[in-house]
């Protein structure tokens, strides 16, 4: 029973992924490109050698965390679109801490920066959670607004406080604050792979424990599945909403902090919200908000993005084809109800055949 349920859960994303690749292939054929060659290049360019693998893993690190953040709020029944803002705040917080305390011992400096970033992200999301719990303000609206407040506040802060005159970015953090160490660079042939990846994996495990083993995680799931029943059972629903949004923002903030320390080493003025915040939502949807699933979904998205770069290097196929594949996958996940209805038919037939399955239905 349980076994078949998880199998069924896997079927929808797998079909969606296959369908996305097929759509990509059809389009390439229509415009005269070779899909097999391109998919091969995509694969080699993302996972084919140790350097590409390093890049892919580095690129998936913040995706994992923004996806986890989205998943936590979503489990509590909220649509937290604030991932980009929370990620930005996390990035900003980590860089500010690292720039201000360069003389701290390495471990303290890194932990301090990560915590500072995560907390800023958490506070950013907490604002939306608080407004939602106590005033009923739609978290969709507030998180979108908070995204832009974060973007422009950080642009302002970078220009006026962090950057030297005439520059658009902060100075680089000291080397020891970086998550990108020589050891890992050597190991991955000078890729940008950094320790953040392992922090993200540990976080996935922690969140899995949180949902499946802790009291607070159980409350978040209960409230998300049925707020009225939770209220009736005595759960403090308002506090649970605030907690869920806080955890959600902490995760996205941590994603930003890791990217800041591991990938960018500084923070610059930017025109747009970081796409990793939005892609995290797509990753979470593809993974059906399952923490373990998020690792694989993030790997796929990251591999497509990194491998997509080499498509246009080795052939004249535009690398945007990858965006079409990604968009198609999300589209098919979105219409999963169609698949589920089709699968459910088959499934019911099989279930009825089991000796004890039919009676009580």
């Amino acid at each position: 029973m349980l076994h078949s349920r998880s199998l069924k859960g896997l079927a929808v994303p797998l079909i969606s992924i296959a369908a996305g690749f097929i759509i990509g292939a059809i389009l390439m054929l229509m415009f005269g490109y070779d899909p097999i060659q391109n998919y091969q290049n995509l694969f080699i360019g993302s996972l084919g050698d140790i350097y590409s693998l390093g890049e892919t893993l580095r690129n998936m690190t913040p995706l994992i965390l923004t996806a986890l953040g989205f998943a936590v709020s979503s489990k509590a029944g909220f649509f937290n679109i604030g991932g980009p803002g929370q990620y930005l705040m996390g990035w900003f917080g980590a860089i500010v801490f690292a720039l201000n305390f360069p003389n701290l011992p390495t471990v303290l400096l890194i932990i301090g920066s990560l915590v500072c970033g995560a907390l800023l992200g958490g506070i950013w999301s907490l604002i939306a959670g608080f407004l939602r719990a106590y005033f009923g303000t739609s978290e969709v609206i507030t998180t979108i607004m908070l995204n832009y407040i974060a973007l422009y506040f950080i642009n302002f802060a970078v220009k006026n406080w962090l950057a030297s005159k005439g520059s658009d970015s902060s100075p680089n953090i000291v080397k020891k604050a970086s998550l990108n160490t020589e050891f890992l660079q050597k190991l991955t042939n000078n890729s940008t792979f950094n320790w953040g990846f392992f922090i993200a994996l540990i976080t996935v495990f922690v969140i899995w424990i949180y949902f499946n083993k802790t009291r607070s995680g159980f409350e978040v799931r209960s409230v998300g599945l049925n707020e009225v029943a939770s209220l009736y059972a005595g759960v403090n629903v308002k506090r649970t909403i605030v907690v869920a949004m806080l955890v959600s923002g902490l995760l996205a903030g941590l994603g930003g902090a890791i990217d800041g320390l591991g990938n960018f080493q500084n923070i610059s003025v930017s025109n747009n919200l970081p796409s990793v915040g939005f892609n995290g939502m797509a990753v979470a949807l593809l993974a059906a908000e399952n923490p373990i699933g998020i690792i694989f979904a993030a790997l796929l998205f990251s591999a497509l993005q990194i491998g997509g770069l080499s498509i246009s290097v080795y052939s004249n196929t535009p690398s945007e084809i990858v965006d079409i594949v990604i968009a198609s996958i999300i589209f098919f996940v979105g219409i999963k109800y169609v698949f589920e209805a089709a699968l459910a038919k088959n499934w019911r037939k099989k279930q009825r055949k089991t000796p004890d399955g039919g009676m009580d239905k």
Binding site: R215, F218, N226, S230, N236, R352, G358, D360
Partner: protein
């Protein structure tokens, strides 16, 4: 054979690989009232769905007026004279009664709807069949009983010869039920045939000529109602002997367990509970009867801490409990089987064992330093599944996959195992099958016999009269009367439920 108006021959309906109807044959004579008896999920609705054109049989034949009928949709069934009165009425609340009746079949005069002719036709029919309806009233303003009469009129207006009543008495007061019975007899006297779907035995005895019992998709028997006892019908429906008697012990009822004084509660800006007093003693089941919407839900919400009390006190064992959180009140010793188990009592996508700890997960030994002991949760789950006879595949099965009766058993198991001083049960057996009803009644009675208090809020008068030691009647947020269930009939109780004023009016009519 001449007067068989409907014949269903060897009907089988298969969904996927599930046989909902298995080789069912059924005959309906002109002017006959046929009861279709069966538990939830026995296949009654499927069978009637085929007769009314909603479903197509997998195999078998339907013969109407001697001619084989292949109905593709409900419209064709209507044209053949089949009129369905659904359990959930299909009326447009913003339209008047008249507009609802003629909708889809409007008489036209020069391209415009001829309301005068429609009204005249309908009034003629209303007089003939004792259907009291107010044609000009808006459907949203009329009572449930009148809405049902509108549905019947809709079918009559379309010249139906066969009426299918799907659980017609579920939402009616006793007065409305007896009015419906009169209408049913009037229809049959005029040569109309009626199929009466129900699982209430008393109604069958009262109204039907013949009764077809269906169990698990098969016809168990077809009997003449006058010659068959209720107990025999029940046994056929359930498949085993049903125990109607209930073990009511003499217990000490002196102690006040629960006391409400001068309680007022507001909801949506309206005063829903007005200055209400209520006491439950030890070892006592107090039944709260009343028509839906007279403040019962608000009363329960106020007592369980989900709604603020405006004024007044609520005391459990002499301690005030109002203005406390739902959790504090539950800890003080109040359990509640809520009316809506699917949306309030349970979280359907969680497992049985998770639902069983929904009110105790935060306490030791289940929760330890913020972590939940799932081993213990599942162990307890297995034990309670056994103890409360919850039919399931495992404790990790999702509650949403259980049948209604078993879902309710999960709620009952959780609430009773908390060993409450006061158990509130709101319509505890609504929509569950007879076997589960029997079981839930036993469990409630056990609470009482153990010397605890029970507050039973129910729209099923039979249930209230059967279980309660004392019955209070609620009307417009107040207790308007108290009766002794041993010497009160459901008719008398119904009068009180309708409120004094309305009761007087009804007296004039009948």
């Amino acid at each position: 054979m001449e007067n068989d108006i409907v014949q269903m021959k060897n009907i089988t309906k298969i969904f996927g690989s599930y046989k909902a109807n298995d080789n069912i044959s059924l005959k309906l004579k002109k002017g006959e009232i046929l009861a279709l008896l069966g538990e939830n999920g026995a296949g009654k609705s499927t069978l009637m769905g085929m007769l009314s054109g909603l479903l197509k049989p997998t195999s078998g034949e339907i013969i109407i007026n001697g001619k084989p009928a292949k109905m593709e949709n409900p419209r064709e069934a209507k044209a053949l004279g089949i009129g369905m009165v659904h359990q959930h009425f299909m009326l447009i609340p913003a339209f008047s009664v008249l507009e609802n009746i003629i909708l889809g079949d409007e008489p036209l005069k020069a391209g415009r709807i001829d309301y005068k002719k429609a009204a005249k036709d309908i009034e003629f029919l209303a007089g003939k069949y004792h259907l009291e309806i107010d044609l000009n009233a808006k459907v949203s303003d009329i009572t449930v009983g009148m809405q049902q009469r509108v549905e019947i009129m809709k079918a009559l207006y379309r010249k139906a010869n066969v009426f299918i009543f799907d659980e017609p008495t579920a939402a009616l007061t006793p007065q409305e039920i007896s009015q419906l019975m009169k209408i049913t007899h009037a229809l049959s006297e005029e040569g109309k045939s009626i199929i009466f779907i129900t699982h209430k035995l008393k109604e069958i005895k009262e109204v039907a000529d013949r009764c077809v019992v269906i169990r698990m998709g098969k016809v168990i028997d077809s009997v003449r109602v006058a010659e068959t006892k209720e107990a025999a019908l029940a046994e056929m429906m359930v498949g085993h002997k049903v125990n109607f008697a209930i073990d009511k012990k003499e217990v000490n009822q002196e102690k006040d367990i629960f006391k409400i004084e001068k309680l007022s509660v507001e909801a949506h800006g309206q005063l829903k509970i007005k200055n209400l007093d209520l006491t439950v003693h030890s070892g006592e089941i107090v039944g709260v009867a009343g028509v839906d919407g007279n403040g019962q839900s608000e009363l329960i919400e106020a007592v369980t801490g989900l709604r603020k009390c405006k004024t007044g006190t609520i005391m459990l064992n002499g301690k005030k409990i109002q203005h406390q959180s739902a959790r504090k009140i539950a800890e003080a010793g109040i359990s509640c089987i809520p009316e809506d188990r699917q949306n309030v009592g349970l979280i359907l996508p969680l497992t049985i064992s998770e639902n069983l700890v929904l009110k105790s997960y935060y306490k030791k030994p289940i929760s330890n330093k913020g972590f939940l002991n799932y081993k213990k949760i599942n162990e307890d789950g297995r034990r309670m599944i056994k103890q409360f006879d919850i039919r399931s595949q495992s404790e990790k099965e999702l509650v949403g996959d259980l049948s209604g009766g078993n879902q309710q058993k999960v709620v009952v198991a959780r609430e009773i195992s908390a060993q409450p001083d006061l158990l509130i049960a709101a319509n505890p057996t609504r929509g569950v099958d007879i076997g589960a009803i029997e079981y839930i009644h036993e469990k409630i009675m056990e609470q009482r016999n153990a010397g605890h208090g029970v507050l039973l809020v129910s729209f099923e008068l039979e249930e209230i009269l059967k279980l309660s030691d004392r019955v209070v009647v609620m009307h417009e947020g107040q207790i308007v009367g108290e009766i002794d269930p041993r010497d009160t009939s459901s008719e008398e109780l119904g009068m009180l439920m309708a409120g004094k004023q309305q009761a007087e009016e009804m007296g004039e009519i009948s």
